[in-house]
Assembly symmetry: C2
Homo-oligomer: 139 residues x 2
């Protein structure tokens, strides 16, 4: 039961439950900070599958999430990959080899376009960030 997950299983699971996001944070600097984040958030009872997915992707950390505003909610677990090197060298190649098939496919395509810009350091320029914001708008 705890053998390595089939990569196509992971593609299917992530198409339903995963999230590829682009965050743009204004700090007290001229250029906002751009980050990519791959996440899967699940209810408490499903923590184990997150560990198995992290193992297969060979990256990511697992966190327990509690919602202070909604203490009656059961706690959730989140698999999070925020490190650009891991995203670029592990997450993106994985989902290029084992393609998403549903709505997340378009989210992932935009995610990859932003990763291309980050790889070229264009997110450190005003024009690059503007382009990233345009790409993100259609997420």
């Amino acid at each position: 039961m705890n053998s390595m997950l089939d990569p196509n299983y992971i593609a299917g699971f992530v198409d339903g439950e995963g999230c590829f996001s682009v965050t743009v944070t204004k700090r007290n600097k001229r250029i906002p900070e751009v980050r990519l984040l791959f996440e899967i958030e699940l209810e408490d009872s499903d923590e184990k599958i997150l560990h198995r997915i992290a193992k297969r992707l060979d990256c990511g950390r697992i966190y327990r999430v509690t919602y202070r505003k909604y203490p009656h909610w059961s706690s959730h677990f989140k698999l999070k990959v925020g490190n650009f090197k891991d995203i670029d060298e592990k997450v993106i190649p994985f989902f290029k080899r084992h393609p998403l098939q549903a709505k997340k496919k378009f989210q992932f395509e935009r995610f990859c376009r932003v990763a291309d810009l980050i790889r070229e350091k264009r997110h450190l320029t005003v024009e690059g960030v503007e382009e990233i914001l345009r790409i993100r708008k259609f997420t």
Copy 2:
């Protein structure tokens, strides 16, 4: 892009988005009616993946679902298999060959136990229905 879906992809997708349910409906008869239902419900923009899953499973109908109570919600699409023969000969063998790995695995195991009872016509007896209700309680 519209090639046949990999069965492990479907297992992953269903582990996140699918539902295996047992309904027990009291009518004006001594024995309540027991039915099995396999469903996937998704937002409007994801209709296509449901057709591809139905094609791979070789059963199921796709419905548009609108919520009268919540007219501002976008409409949803549902893949539904309620026919026992299809469940018994197509859905159950499919997920036995390509096992679920997360929470839905337990839901599916109970679903299979009820299917065994229906196959033996035990759902047409008071004792059988009581057993089904006990199995369902832990869903």
